[in-house]
C-alpha cells in the first residue's frame, strides 16, 4: 500500500533531529578518554572510538561520520553515557547520527530493514518460531501452552501510521 509522506511529520522529524544535534555538546568534550576505555567495542575494534567520534563532530566532520560504518557498531551498553565526566552521551549522539545517515540515504547494515519490515507487516520484529529443545524436539507457543501471539488490533491503521513515519524520516 502506498503511504504518502506527511509534510508535518517531516517537519517534526527535522525539528527533533535539529534539537538532538544541538544537545550533543561535543564542544564540552575534553577528550579525556573515559568513553573509549569503558566501551566494550572499542576494546575489540580499533575502528570504533567514541572519543574520536565526538572530536570529529566538534570539528564539523559530521558528514564523514554519517557515511562511515563506525556509527553502526555501538552495542548500546551505555557505559559511555553513564561515566562521561561532562555528561555527554556518545550513545545518544550515535543514535542521532544513525537517524541522520538513514535520512541522507547512506548505507547501513541490512538487519535494520528486516526488523522494520517485520514490524510493519506483523507488529513484531519477528514472527513466533518453532524452537528446538536440547533433545532436538520442536516446540512452539501452542505446544508449550502459551497464549497466542499479540499483534495490533487494526494492522492496517498501524502499518499506515508507522510506515508513514518511516517514510517521512527518509525524506530530507
Amino acid at each position: 500500500m502506498e503511504t504518502s509522506i506527511d509534510e508535518r511529520e517531516v517537519e517534526l522529524i527535522t525539528l527533533m533531529l535539529q534539537r538532538a544535534v544541538s544537545e550533543m555538546s561535543a564542544e564540552a568534550c575534553e577528550q579525556c578518554g573515559v568513553c573509549p576505555s569503558a566501551c566494550p567495542v572499542a576494546r575489540h575494534m580499533e575502528t570504533f572510538n567514541p572519543r574520536r567520534m565526538i572530536a570529529k563532530i566538534s570539528l564539523g566532520q559530521i558528514e564523514e561520520l554519517l557515511k562511515s560504518p563506525e556509527i553502526w557498531t555501538c552495542t548500546s551498553c551505555l557505559k559511555c553515557k553513564e561515566r562521561c565526566p561532562e555528561n555527554i552521551s556518545p550513545y545518544d549522539v550515535i543514535l542521532v547520527l544513525r537517524n541522520l545517515a538513514v535520512r541522507a540515504g547512506y548505507p547501513y547494515p541490512e538487519g535494520y530493514d528486516d526488523f522494520v519490515k517485520n514490524v510493519l507487516d506483523s507488529g513484531m520484529a519477528q514472527q513466533p518460531q518453532a524452537v528446538r529443545t536440547r533433545g532436538r524436539q520442536r516446540r512452539d507457543r501452542e505446544s508449550l501452552g502459551l497464549p497466542p501471539a499479540q499483534r495490533p488490533r487494526d494492522m492496517e491503521a498501524f502499518s499506515e501510521i508507522l510506515g508513514g513515519i518511516v517514510k517521512a524520516g527518509r525524506s530530507a
Binding site: L12, P40, V41, H44, T73, V102, Q129, Q150, A168, G169
Partner: protein
C-alpha cells in the same frame, strides 16, 4: 499486584522459556498478569536507530494499551523497559512530539496516559515482592550452587533514567539468588554487556564480547549464570557454541538460566513447565541437583 504483561518481540517469538517460567512463578507469588491485546514491538533497538519518531510511537502505543487497562506495565526485556522509560521522558519534554503521538494514537483508537509505570522484573521481584517473601516460597533451596548474576546493561544504565539497580554496584539479583539458597559473589565483569545489539553490524565482535564475560564467569568458579533479559539470555545461552568457537575455547560450558526458571525450580515447579528443555546451555546437571534427579 496486577500488571499488564508486555512480552516484547524476542520473548513472544522465541524466548518461550522466559515467558513460561514467568507465567508459572509470578502468580504463585500473588502477581496477576493481564494480557496486552494489540501489543506491538517497542521499537528498540532498530527504530531508535532508523526512525526515532517511529520508535517513540511504538513505545507510546504500548504504554497507551497498558493505560487503557488501568495498569502499570511489566516488560520482560531490559531494552523494552528502558525504551518505555525513555519514551515517557521524551513525551514529557517535547510537547510537539506528544501532540503528534496523541494524534496518531487516536487513529488506532488509543489514548496515551502519563501515569503508566514501567515495572522492571528486578524491581518487581526485589523491591515489590521482596527477597523475604521469595525465600518463604522456596521448597527446594539451591544449596551449594554458586551463581553469577547478570543484570544486563539496560537494567542498570543510564542511572538518570531510574534503572532498578545501581550502575556500578548492582546487588539486587545477588540478593534474589541468595533468597533461593544459592551463594553468589561479586565479580568484576558483572556490569559488562552481552554484546547482542552489535550483532546486526558485526557478528564476530559480538561473540568476542559475550565470550569475555562467559569465560570470566567460568574462571571465577561459578556454577552458572542467570539473567532477567531475553537478549542477554539468547546470547549467552543460545549462542554459547558460536561464542566458544570465536574465542578459541570450545570447552566453554556455562549453564545459563533465566532467574524465573531458577525461582520456579526452587519453588517446586516441575522443570518442563519452566521451559528448561529449551535452554541450549548444559543445564541438566544443575536441574538434577535441585530436583534431586527426579526429572
Amino acid at each position: 499486584m496486577k500488571y499488564a504483561l508486555y512480552l516484547g518481540c524476542t520473548v513472544q517469538a522465541e524466548q518461550y522459556a522466559y515467558e513460561a517460567s514467568v507465567r508459572q512463578v509470578l502468580p504463585r507469588l500473588g502477581v496477576e498478569l493481564v494480557e496486552m491485546e494489540g501489543a506491538s514491538c517497542c521499537g528498540f533497538p532498530a527504530f531508535s536507530s532508523i526512525s526515532s519518531l517511529g520508535w517513540h510511537y511504538l513505545s507510546a502505543r504500548n504504554l497507551a494499551i497498558a493505560g487503557s487497562l488501568g495498569l502499570d506495565v511489566l516488560p520482560l526485556c531490559n531494552g523494552c523497559h528502558l525504551s518505555f522509560t525513555e519514551t515517557q521522558h521524551a513525551l514529557e519534554k517535547d510537547p510537539h512530539l506528544r501532540q503528534f503521538v496523541d494524534q496518531k494514537l487516536a487513529q488506532e483508537g488509543l489514548n496515551y496516559s502519563e501515569g503508566v509505570r514501567p515495572i522492571h522484573m528486578i524491581e518487581l521481584l526485589h523491591d515489590i515482592i521482596g527477597a523475604d517473601r521469595i525465600e518463604e516460597a522456596v521448597e527446594r533451596p539451591l544449596e551449594g550452587l554458586k551463581l553469577a548474576s547478570h543484570p544486563g546493561c539496560h537494567a542498570i544504565r543510564p542511572s538518570e533514567m531510574q534503572r532498578p539497580d545501581d550502575p556500578e554496584d548492582p546487588t539486587k539479583l545477588d540478593d534474589l539468588a541468595r533468597a533461593l539458597g544459592a551463594t553468589t559473589m561479586d565479580y568484576p565483569e558483572k556490569t559488562d554487556c552481552c554484546g547482542s545489539l552489535l550483532s546486526t553490524a558485526s557478528g564476530r565482535t559480538t561473540l568476542s564480547i559475550a565470550g569475555e564475560k562467559l569465560k570470566a564467569v567460568r574462571d571465577h568458579g561459578f556454577d552458572g549464570l542467570f539473567t532477567t533479559c531475553p537478549y542477554c539470555f539468547k546470547m549467552f545461552d543460545g549462542r554459547q557454541r558460536a561464542i566458544g568457537a570465536t574465542i578459541g575455547d570450545r570447552s566453554l560450558e556455562v549453564p545459563v538460566f533465566y532467574y524465573t526458571q531458577l525461582l520456579g525450580l526452587a519453588m517446586g515447579v516441575e522443570p518442563e513447565k519452566l521451559g528448561l528443555e529449551l535452554n541450549m546451555s548444559p543445564v541438566d546437571g544443575i536441574v538434577k541437583r535441585i530436583t534431586g534427579g527426579s526429572n
